[in-house]
Each structure stands twice: as C-alpha cells, then as structure tokens.
C-alpha cells in the first residue's frame, strides 16, 4: 500500500473546501486531508448570510458541508483553531492551540478581512463588520435591544446589511462617501433608481458624507461627520471593503502584493504551497465573489489530482443585489470610456433601465435595473466575446428567442460554472439531466442545487435542458406537472378523476402511469385532496397520504413533540373554558402556552402519546391549526363595544367559523371580520377579509400576510350577513375546485384574476351551484379529535408508542 500524501488546508471557507471537495472526487484516496478553520462552524455559504439576516434562512440552512461530511470523507477538521505559523522548509503548520501538522501540499484559503476605518472611537462597543455567522448573530441580537443602525458603505454588502436591519425592525442610515451608491457595479442612472427604490422601502441615505468620529461612552451613540453634523446610532456596521488576509503568508515569507501572488495553477512563490480564494492575487486581481473562486478551485483540484487542466486565466464577474427585492444586475466593463459605445433603454414608467456597453463590435459590459432577465445571456456574450456587428442593435436587448442562448451553452466546456452561488458546472447539470431523466428547472434545482440560492442562473439551466433534451423540452409550454412522478398537470389529473371515476390514490397513479408506484410526498397528499374534493361524500380519506400534521391533527415541532390549538370561534372565549385549558396544561406539564396570531391558545411541546388524552380532557373541537383547511376567523370587538363600529364583527366571525370549520382547502385559509374600515382584525391581508362599511359589508379576496405579503382585492360588497356567508361559500368552493394543491388564495387570485372570480360569484346561477356543492362538502366533516378519542384503532395506529423491556 502506498503512503498517502498529506494535504493541509488553512481556512475552512468557501474557496478552500470547494477545492478539496473537487479533489476528493477526482482523486479519492490520494491525500490524507487536514483542515484548519478559525470559525467554530463547518463550511457554510457565506453569501447566504444576508438571507439569514433578512430572516429568510436559519444559520443551519446555510451549512454546505455538515460535520459528518468531514468524517465520512476521512478529513481531520480543527475548528476554532487559527494557523499561526508555517515552516516552509520543514513543511509544517502550527496552530494557536499548539497543534503542528506536516504537509506535502499546503493550500492557503484564508479569505479576507473586512476593512475597518480607523476612526477615533472605532473601538467602542457596537462598532462591527459584517462577514461571519458571529457578526450576523450579533446584529440579530442587537436588533432586539436597539433601534437605530448606521451602515457605513453603500456597496453591495452595505446595502444587504441595511436591508437586513429594516427586516429586523431597526431604522437604518446608509452613509456613503460618494453621491451614488454601488458605484462599482452601477452607472449613475441605475444607481439613482436603486436609491429611490430602497428609500421607498424605508432606507435613509446620507450621501457625500465623510465619517470623522464615532461618539459615545462605552457603547456607540452616534457618528460624527467631517462637516460637523451628527447622526444617532446604537450600532455601526462598517462595510467599506475587504483586504486579503495574508498575515500568515507574509510571516512565512510568501510573496504578497497585497494578496498572495499565485500563477495560473494557483501556485505561490513557495514550492508545494498554493493559495485560492479571496486571499489570492492572480494576474493583479484579487476577487471578492464566489464564482471566480470556484473556477480557481476547479483548476487547483485538477492540478493536485494530477489531472490535465487548462490554466486559470482570470474571470469576468457579474453581481446581483440579493434580498432587497429590487432586481439589479451588473457585469463586465460597464462604464463608458474612450472607444466604447452604449445601447440604453430607459422606461421611466415601468422603472426599467438597461445599458449595454460595446467596444470593437463586442459587448464588454452591462447594467440592468428592474428587469434582469437578459443578464445571463449578456454575460454569455461578454465571456464569449460574441461579434455583434451582424446583429440589429436594439435586438441585443430584446432577443429572448432562446435559440441564440441555447447554442451558447453548447459551446461551453463541461467545467464552465453555471451556478456561481453553489459552484455547479455544466457537466454536472447535463449528466444529472441525462442520468436521472430530469425535465424541468425545478428538478435540476432539487437534484444538483443549481439555482437554489440567488436564482440568477435559471435561464442558463433552462437552456441546458433545451440543449440536452432537444425538441422534447419545451420551456414555453412549461407544463407544470404535479411532481416528478408524473407527466400530468393538476388539471389533467382532476379531469381524469372526474371522467374516469377514479376513487382512490393508488388507482389514480396506476391508471395515469405514475413513474413511482406509490408516488412521493408531493403527489400523494395532492391526489388525496383532489379525490376528496371531487367526491366529498364517497371518498375515504387516506391517512397515509396525509402530511404528518394533517394525519396527527396537531402541529409537529422540531423535536418531534406537537402543539395543540383548540378552536375558539372568532377568538372569543369565556372563564370556564380558560380555566379548563389552564388545568389541562398543568396536568399534562405543557412546557409552553402561547397566544397565536389567530387569536387563540397554543399548547406547545405535547408528546404524541399524550395527544388523545389531552383532547379528551380539553373537550373542545380541533382548531385545525395544522391543516390545509380553515384556520381562524379573526375578529375585532365591533359595534357591540367599539365606538367606531358599524357592524357586529364578533357575531359574524363566529358564524363564519362555525360554518366553515373543518373544510379542506388546497392550502390554509385565514379569514377576518372588522367592524369598520379601521380594520383592527387585519381583514386586508386575509384569504377572505370582511369589513363593515356604512350600509353593508365589503369582502376582500386573496390577501396574505405571510411570506409574500399581498393586499386583498375587493371581491364584492353585500348588504346582509346572510350574503356574506353565501358569497364566501361560493368563493371558497370555487377556490377548492380550481386551486392547485398547496396554492394559497393570494396566488390563486393572482393567477385567475379578481375580475374573473368576481364574475363567477356574482353570477347567480353559478353561485347557487357552488353553494350547493359547498354544502355537500361541509355536511360530511367530523371533528378529528373526537374521532380519535372514540376509536381504539386510530389511537393505536397513530398515537401509540411501544415501550419494550
């Protein structure tokens, strides 16, 4: 057995670990790998920190390689350890904890350090950078205590940080030394458009301001500028640039200027020592984005695996601003200069701006604002130096035919990185498409992670599908199948259930030729819903096709316990009920009792084996807080008590909740009733919101206060309380019959159009039919908690835990 060579990586970050991952695939067993990292975490995706800060992801979600990956691959990992010395003659590295490891090959991937402006007072508490999970956690924590943040630096990173603070409920000023933000990525018009869009979101800009001093006692209280003015702040984040982290390399005598100098194979000036990532300086450039780091890593990995590789010759970079909800794209050389000409489109009505810079008949750069769909195609043309002399100039921005682009991907080498965020190459995507029979961008995403992060590469992935599958891929038809088990769309399946008289889940899958005999976790619940919707009276619900919460009739929590929410019609309760809830909570040692956003009580942390006994003692109906069903009807106090009220919102809410409780719907449904347009029950952001107005009631449809906030559209105005119920019946039944499983009314209303839905429910004949079918659907529902209490079989099948001795 030959001795393995020793490979040591300093820096457990994106660039280094990616190179090692590649290397392990190319030459498994060639090296014995040791990794040192200063941070306590396994390798994580730094660019997604902004999503964590913005509240869209959790720290755990952005881990790329969990600890077990290192173990499975036989890698020795030293986290929380900083390498402090390299002995280049003895070929060893030593850490601050005193561990010394020898190497045959050494990779430095130490990244960079945020640059901190040496202002007086910069050492005060509350002054920080934005680079690591730790920084992110500090920012999130501070937002709980403090109200006002200042971000110094109006670049990409500064704006993402500022957006994060807004999401965390803080006020934020962005201080920038120039009069245009993101000047390194945007030209003046685009920069001003972006500023306006961000101002609309609540960001405040202090432009052309030079910081002079950070004021405060122990903790920062404000920022003073050269012009003498002061801005208040409880927290200051500096995002003014990064410096390659070369302290270690310099100490060891590696040539640095300012990054560690590397050649086209990432070799430094010292034999057997390599550098990759932000700390490296290649042909005079140190990159600060991930896509080029992955390209470097791929070359380095091949070199170390002794696989033939083309040299790394530098990268053309592009950027997208994430999290802000504003579409901005910029790539290549986008500033006008001598010898360049530009094509510009500026549509002030739609807020769209596009600029393409051309030199010697080639596109060399582009800036897009508002509509960035051309981005990937333009980048392609920049990278390939496409000659555009034969092209209609205005068509450069309009050519969306796809044929041009598809032939573009054909010319790319298999190593070309398609998804910059996750480092997925063309080769990986194409073989996944072929070997696993993928047919949609969604499937490619699930299978290879390409386009999972910023989504900028979706058009390229689509082109690759077209290129690999040929004519069988039609992206325009883009038939949305229920899931990858079938070629059929939702409408085709529902039609087949109706016309062929299909009666159970297995039968549907059988008759319609499902690829997996028993389907998957996506289609099984969908089919179960459609069958129940079509045949409410005869269909026997299939509990094995229900998602856990709907099968157990309680919400599963991350530790496997459940939460229990009893029904409280209209959010109205009484002392006896409250007492009973309190007693039950005590008797079952419920760890947490919480009021929900839907005006009821949540008992959290209940063991599954306790559920049925607890329900029995509660003696209240299930609140369906877990289901794709009617959740709550939120009410304000209304005319009974409120001096502004014109309608009895509580009574109407209670009546609605009693009418529609236990109704299965494509996705959860929340309703609200407010006694006047002051809208204290938030009727504007509910699936159906009712508002009392002088002489009647307004019904708002398709509102949503969740992931994508949407204000409801006015569906209709009615006079009586009876009509509220009638129109709601028709509306909800129409949603049940035409909605896709999992589709909220906000998406459904958007898809069908409020005018169409209004036409349907206002047409008396259609409304009566819908109401009749709703009546049937409601007539067969039963309280699931009662059913479980009454049936030994249900209790045994679903809730029993067997303890063996």
């Amino acid at each position: 057995m030959t001795q393995k060579e020793k490979l040591v990586l300093v820096g457990n970050g994106m660039a280094g670990v990616n190179a090692v991952e590649h290397l392990l695939k190319l030459a498994p067993g060639k090296y014995e790998v040791t990794i040192f990292g200063s941070e306590p975490h396994p390798n994580y995706n730094r660019i997604l920190l902004s999503y964590v800060l913005a509240g869209d992801s959790k720290v755990d979600d952005i881990v790329i390689h969990p600890f077990e990956w290192y173990t499975t691959n036989g890698i020795t990992l030293h986290t929380n350890q900083t390498v402090t010395d390299i002995d280049i003659t003895a070929q060893t590295v030593t850490s601050d904890k005193g561990i010394t490891v020898s190497y045959d090959k050494l990779i430095l991937a130490t990244g960079s350090n945020p640059f901190m402006i040496p202002l007086p007072g910069a050492d005060k508490e509350g002054v920080m950078a934005y680079r690591t999970i730790r920084d992110c956690e500090i920012m999130i924590d501070s937002a709980k205590k403090y109200k006002k943040a200042i971000v110094i630096g109006g670049g990409l990173l500064g704006l993402e940080a500022a957006r994060g603070f807004l999401n965390l409920g803080m006020k934020v000023d962005v201080v920038h030394i120039l009069d245009t933000i993101m000047e390194r990525q945007l030209d003046r018009p685009a920069s001003k458009m972006l500023q306006e869009a961000l101002e609309d979101q609540g960001m405040n800009f202090l432009l052309e301001k030079q910081s002079a001093e950070i004021i405060g006692d122990k903790r920062v209280t404000g920022l003073k500028f050269k012009d003498g003015t002061v801005a208040e702040a409880d927290l200051i984040v500096m995002a003014v640039g990064i410096r390659p982290n070369v302290e270690l390399a310099k100490k060891a005598g590696l040539e640095c200027n300012p990054g560690i100098i590397v050649n086209d194979y990432l070799q430094t000036s010292v034999p057997n020592v390599y550098a990759v990532g932000e700390c490296a300086m290649h042909r005079g450039v140190a990159y600060g984005l991930v896509a080029p780091l992955y390209e470097q890593g791929a070359v380095l990995a091949k070199h170390l695996a002794s696989v033939e590789t083309a040299p790394y010759e530098g990268s053309v970079v592009y950027t997208k601003l994430k999290v802000s909800g504003v579409d901005v794209f910029s790539g290549g050389q986008f500033v006008d200069a001598e010898g360049t000409k530009a094509i510009r489109v500026h549509d002030e009505f739609s807020g769209i701006y596009k600029k393409v810079v051309i030199k010697d008949n080639k596109i060399i750069g582009a800036v897009l604002f508002g509509d960035t769909s051309d981005g990937t195609r333009l980048m392609q043309m920049i990278r390939e130096e496409t000659d555009i002399s034969g092209m209609e100039k205005t068509a450069i921005l309009k050519d969306n035919s796809g044929s041009g682009a598809a032939s573009g991907v054909a010319d790319m080498s298999d190593d070309t990185i398609i998804c910059g965020c996750n480092g997925v190459t063309k080769g990986t995507i194409c073989s996944a498409i072929k070997e696993q029979g993928l047919t949609s961008v969604e499937e490619v995403k699930n299978c290879t992670t390409a386009s999972r992060s910023c989504g900028g590469c979706k058009p390229l992935v689509s082109d690759l599908l077209a290129y690999t599958l040929g004519t069988s891929y039609d992206k325009n038809a883009a038939k949305e199948t229920i899931c990858s088990c079938t070629e059929h769309s939702r409408d085709e399946v529902v039609e087949a259930i109706r016309s062929k008289g299909l009666t159970h889940v297995r039968e549907v899958m059988n008759v319609l030729g499902w690829k997996n005999e028993e389907g998957c976790s996506k289609c099984r619940p969908a089919l179960n819903y459609y069958l129940g919707m079509v045949n409410p009276e005869s269909y026997r619900d299939d509990s094995t096709s229900r998602f856990v919460n709907e099968r157990m009739h309680a919400n599963i929590q991350k530790d496997g316990t459940y939460s229990v929410v009893p029904r409280m019609y209209g959010g109205v309760t009484n002392p006896a009920e409250l007492k009973r809830i309190a007693e039950v909570a005590e008797r079952f040692n419920v760890p947490t009792v919480k009021l929900t956003g839907g005006q009821r009580i949540d008992l959290l942390g209940v063991k599954k084996e306790d559920l049925t006994a607890m329900w029995e003692e509660l003696d209240m109906p299930s609140g369906y807080a877990y289901g794709k069903a009617l959740r709550t009807v939120k009410t304000c106090v209304g005319e009974e008590f409120c001096r502004f009220g014109t309608g009895d919102s509580m009574a109407v809410g209670i009546a609605m909740e009693k009418r529609f409780e236990r109704l299965n719907t494509p996705a959860k449904v929340k309703m609200a009733v407010s006694g006047c347009p002051r809208n204290c029950a938030e009727s504007g952001i509910k699936d159906l919101g009712v508002v009392s107005v002088d002489g009647g009631w307004e019904l708002y449809a398709g509102g949503n206060g969740g992931v994508k906030v949407r204000v409801g559209d006015l569906l209709t105005t009615v006079k009586t309380e009876q009509e509220i119920i009638e129109y709601t019946e028709a509306y909800l039944q129409y949603y049940r019959e035409t909605g896709k499983y999992g589709e909220r009314t906000s998406e459904w209303v958007h898809r069908l159009g409020i005018d169409h839905i209004r036409d349907v429910v206002q047409d008396e004949a259609k409304r009566k039919e819908l109401c009749a079918r709703m009546d049937t659907a409601l007539s067969v529902t039963k309280d699931p908690w009662r059913a479980a209490i009454d049936s030994k079989k249900i209790r045994q099948d679903l809730y029993e835990v067997v303890e063996l001795t």
Binding site: N516, S521, K558, V802, L804
Partner: protein, 116 residues
C-alpha cells in the same frame, strides 16, 4: 458494518396483524427509538427514528414504495439501506426484523455491542 445474526438480541415488539400499512410505529428499547414500518408489499422495515439532517422523527413520514420522506424537511430515505437519497446525503441506522407466529421481533445489538 452489519452485525452478525448471533450478536443480536431479538426483542418481541408488536403483533403483525395490528400494524397499519405504511404508517410508522414508534418503538423504544433501552434508550433507542425505532420507527417500524409495514410496507404495502407486507414487508417489514425498521430504522432508527432520527433523521440524519436535524433529528426529524421518521415514524411520522409519508411512506412510498421502499422509502420514507422525513416529515421535517422532506429528506427521502431508502428503508432497506437507511441511505438518504440524492441530492442530500447521510444515512440512518437500520434494524433487522423477523416475523414469528404473527409477532414482529426487532434485532438489537447485544448490550456490550451497544456500549462499545
């Protein structure tokens, strides 16, 4: 990898008849928690009741053919091998089962095995 038959303790668990198809049963034994499944084919499968991703309880997952989908974040796990399916990775411990006179037995490693 696999523990030899003779090193197993066969523990009597539940009646086969009383197990519902495609519905996991949570079983605890000496600090271990097992999810036991009776598949549509009638076959029995037992795996550790902890998803390698974030400790999701697998007994409550949707079962399709020979796979269970974790109820937490939908990782797909192959029951006979315990392997997490692509694009995710990882594996779950599997347990041997046997059926005798209508009773399901689960094979646990002998105590000293567990301790090592």
């Amino acid at each position: 990898m696999s523990v030899k038959e003779e090193q197993l303790v066969w523990v009597e668990a539940v009646s086969y008849e009383e197990l519902a198809f495609n519905t996991g049963k949570t079983i605890r034994y000496q600090g271990e928690e097992v999810a036991l499944f009776k598949l549509s084919s009638g076959k029995l499968q037992a795996i550790q009741n902890r998803c390698p991703h974030k400790d999701g309880v697998l007994a409550e997952g949707i079962v399709c053919d020979e796979h269970v989908f974790c109820p937490m974040h939908d990782r797909k796990i192959h029951l006979p091998s315990g392997l997490v399916q692509l694009p995710d990775t990882g594996c779950v411990k599997t347990y041997s089962t046997k059926l005798q006179d209508g009773i399901v037995y689960i094979g646990f490693a002998k105590a000293e095995e567990l301790a090592s």
